[in-house]
Subunit: 142 residues, 2 copies
DNA sequence: CCTGTATCTACAGTCGCTGTAGAATAGGGG
DNA sequence: CCCCTATTCTACAGCGACTGTAGATACAGG
């Protein structure tokens, strides 16, 4: 049986994060010692490892919750699992596209500025006016 | 003189966002009507446009605050402006690198799954064990 | 003057944690 | 067996950058 700190170390998680996962119901309420401290077994270790690795791959906690639910039905088709992963892939690709547009604009405005005075800094001119941009980088968040 | 809703429409901002910018001190407190409603002039319109465009290019509000401060000293060298933009570029490039690693892993795990049963879904296997990954996608956030 | 839209303040909620305070517990050394 | 320190406990606030809500008030057109 593992104390929460041991579980944290083994999975590269902060202790508070584990408690947070319990609070939002993505980790189960574990057994407790007489004094009220959480004790974990191997099942919880595996589950937390799954959550952390999925987070590292960019899945939202909601998506991970679905994935965990699905993996409890081993006989089922994995079509839904695949759909979640495909959504995640499309999301990542959309972010990349957006960031590449940003990179191009940033690169260009930096290149055009020869470190003059603020009054005629190309970077500030571009920031003042999207008309100076070449791409349609606008849209959503970073 | 523009009401807040007009300013919002002209800059593609939500009304609450403008009030939020005022609250955190990145937009000035504007004049008010007798009844207490905010009224804006062209200077504020320009400032808000600068903020919004910079946000679209991924700059943090803190960075934007610095940029706005710097652009108030037209005679100064723009070296600091350039440094902020370079930081932003490096940040964007780091995000792209990370997202491309994620994209590769996601793409691979999706390709390896032929939509079988959950019990032997490659996607779930990879999520359970980072050892199945080829790249070191771990690190920071998305 | 009336009505409907816009604006006002204040506050809660989003996502995924992270940090803090103050109290209680666990476990090892003497 | 006692003590001490490290760990854990609960509860809550804060991050960044907004977004949404409720209930009250102001403005503008007809
Ligand atoms: Zn410059
Ligand atoms: Zn632009
Ligand atoms: Zn599958
Ligand atoms: Zn991995």
């Amino acid at each position: 049986m593992l104390a929460i700190g041991t579980l944290a170390k083994r999975t590269g998680t902060k202790v508070q994060t584990i408690r947070y996962y319990e609070e939002i119901g993505i980790m189960p309420e574990p057994g407790r010692t007489e004094g009220g401290q959480r004790r974990y077994g191997d099942a919880e270790l595996d589950r937390l490892a799954f959550i952390r690795h999925s987070r590292q791959l960019g899945f939202s906690l909601d998506a991970i919750r679905e994935l965990l639910d699905l993996s409890d039905s081993p006989g089922r088709s994995c079509a839904e699992v695949d759909a979640i992963a495909q959504r995640q892939l499309r999301d990542v690709e959309a972010r990349i596209d957006r960031l590449e547009a940003l990179r191009a604009e940033l690169h260009r405005m930096i290149a055009e500025c020869g470190s003059n005075r603020v009054a005629d800094c190309r970077i500030l001119q571009v920031l003042r006016d999207h008309g100076e941009c070449l791409s349609d980088h606008a849209k959503a968040e970073t």
